[in-house]
């Protein structure tokens, strides 16, 4: 806690994301993803201070962190080539099979609640090796037994080309690890101030529960300095409102 300011949840999640991106060479951040963006930029800062390979970050909607010159298809082309190592997805609903629903609730097509749509999920979820699911609200409304519409499935039948898939799910209560073999989530850690019981109460799906569940590691002073310094400055380019709210950073004058 560099300056005594308490750790904000966004900082905890970004730090957890950075852990999940350790060793990744190319991470892309899609739309409406300020916290994943901050986590990816933190991973990049950490990688530049380590002996391993540098992490390259592409943020859709950014000028500074976007080197695409082949149109909007380039992200998907690179993913098809195995050149995007990590990506982030979310869902209006996420279920215990890691299926995600970005379309709406109830009976499709006249869904009573309609969300925006599936974006690139029905492709990137299959192709990107490390997909991190992030959904702030952890409730039985969001984490359901079975999604009403599968925008993209968490796993595929044998024989279906699927080098990619989920690795983890981060919420405002905990971190789940995805177990690819078993096709189930495992409760990896619970965020400070929350309990396993709370997670169990608020989760609509079954998951594996170890005998002891650690508390999610909070970012140390070094990480907080990175988050509140270079990461905040960079994320403000794409998400000025977020940067202002979380890091009290006003956008730079043009």
């Amino acid at each position: 806690m560099t300056d005594g300011t308490p750790i904000r949840p966004e900082e905890l999640y970004a730090s957890t994301i950075a852990d999940l991106l350790a060793g990744v060479r190319n991470v892309a951040v899609g739309m409406l993803s300020p916290i994943p963006g901050a986590g990816a930029l933190l991973a990049r800062e950490l990688s530049s201070q380590s002996a391993g390979p540098a992490t390259r970050v592409t943020i859709l909607g950014s000028q500074a962190h976007n080197r695409f010159t082949n149109g909007g298809a380039e992200l998907f082309d690179l993913a098809g080539r195995g050149r995007i190592d990590a990506f982030f997805l979310s869902g209006g609903q996420i279920d215990g099979q890691a299926n995600i629903n970005l379309v709406g609730t109830g009976e499709y097509p006249a869904t009573p609640v309609r969300w925006s749509g599936s974006f690139g999920s029905a492709y990137l979820y299959y192709l990107v090796p490390r997909v991190v699911l992030f959904r702030w609200e952890h409730s039985r409304r969001t984490l359901v037994r079975q999604v009403d519409f599968i925008s993209a499935p968490g796993r595929s039948e044998p024989g279906v080309h699927r080098p990619g898939g989920p690795v983890a799910l981060i919420t405002n209560l905990c971190l789940f690890r995805w177990q690819r073999e078993q096709g189930r989530f495992l409760l990896q850690s619970v965020h400070p101030g929350h309990t396993v019981e709370e997670v169990r109460d608020q989760t609509g799906f079954d998951f594996d529960l170890p005998a002891t569940v650690p508390t999610t590691a909070t970012p140390d002073a070094h990480r907080l300095a990175l988050l509140r310094g270079p990461v905040a400055a960079q994320i403000a380019e794409v998400y000025p409102a977020f940067a202002q709210q979380v890091f009290r950073l006003s956008p730079a004058l043009p």
Partner: protein, 283 residues
């Protein structure tokens, strides 16, 4: 060549979009949103459009454009990977129309829209795409087929893959910064507008300004140019992509006001009346 005919207006362009046409619009992270042309389409009373978003309309201005067209009753169906007002939240008329069942939605995923349009731009009948299998998107798209990969190595077992029919829109509409004297349009590194121009039969473009000279005389500019041969009609409409500005920024307050108004039928009708009146005064 000297121009003997007056330059077309947005209304001239809108007149080239027939009822029932399929129309591509762009995702709106560039100042490519043809808002003035969209309002001209509403004014002309176009009906039954099939809107294809390339691949989404989920930035504030693009979401607002599509939402306006839906709310004004111009749209029968959309093919999209996402429609919203971005960080401001859902697109109200879109959500209401889906709930009411008055709008047919062909839900897609971004690379599928790209792949289908790329096949269309090449004049090839289909494009293969990984992913999709096991999703409800595929289940609800009878036009998408699953085949066994015909070039898989022998003895490796079945390899199912989706093939998407080529997509050629009747009309592409978009805004751009500038055109030159020959009618070439500069888009920089936003190749999506070039893709749309190749894939559509009619290409209608509004630009901020028309400049002297020829972009092809400068190899740097040529690299980011749509050749005039691909463009059916071009209108100079300064501010034609409002609420976006040419620097890519967006007047979020204007979109918020729209969003508030569009939450109710009456509010939307009132907003639309004022928007059309305001534009008529400005034009």
């Amino acid at each position: 060549m000297t121009r003997t005919t007056p330059s077309p207006t947005v209304d001239d362009l809108a007149a080239l979009v027939p009822d029932g046409a399929s129309v591509t619009v762009h995702k709106g992270d560039e100042p490519d949103v043809p808002m003035a042309l969209g309002l001209a389409l509403i004014r002309r009373g176009v009906r039954g459009l099939h809107i294809v978003t390339l691949p989404t309309a989920a930035y504030p201005a693009s979401g607002m454009l599509v939402d306006l067209l839906i709310g004004a009753g111009c749209v029968a169906s959309v093919e999209t990977s996402g429609i919203s007002l971005h960080e401001l939240g859902p697109a109200p008329r879109f959500s209401a129309a889906v709930k009411a069942g008055t709008l047919k939605v062909l839900d897609a995923t971004c690379p599928a829209v790209y792949a289908a349009l790329q096949a269309g731009a090449k004049g090839q009948p289909f494009a293969p795409l990984r992913g999709l299998i096991g999703s409800d998107l595929l289940r609800h798209r009878p036009d998408w087929k699953v085949i066994d990969n015909p070039v898989a190595a022998p003895g490796t077992g079945p390899d199912p893959i989706v093939v998407l029919p080529a997509l050629n829109a009747d009309v592409a509409i978009f805004h751009a910064a500038r055109a030159d004297a020959e009618g070439n349009v500069w888009i920089g590194r936003d190749r999506d507008r070039l893709l749309a121009a190749h894939a559509a039969d009619t290409v209608l473009v509004t630009v901020e300004e028309r400049v002297a000279g020829n972009f092809f005389a400068d190899e740097a500019l040529a690299a980011g140019t749509i050749p005039a041969a691909l463009i059916t009609a071009l209108a100079v409409v300064p501010g034609g992509c409002w609420p976006m500005a040419l620097d890519g920024s967006c007047d979020l307050d204007a979109v918020r006001q729209y969003q508030q108004a569009a939450r109710s039928d009456d509010g939307f009708a009132d907003h639309l009346r004022r928007a059309l009146a305001g534009q008529a005064v400005a034009a």
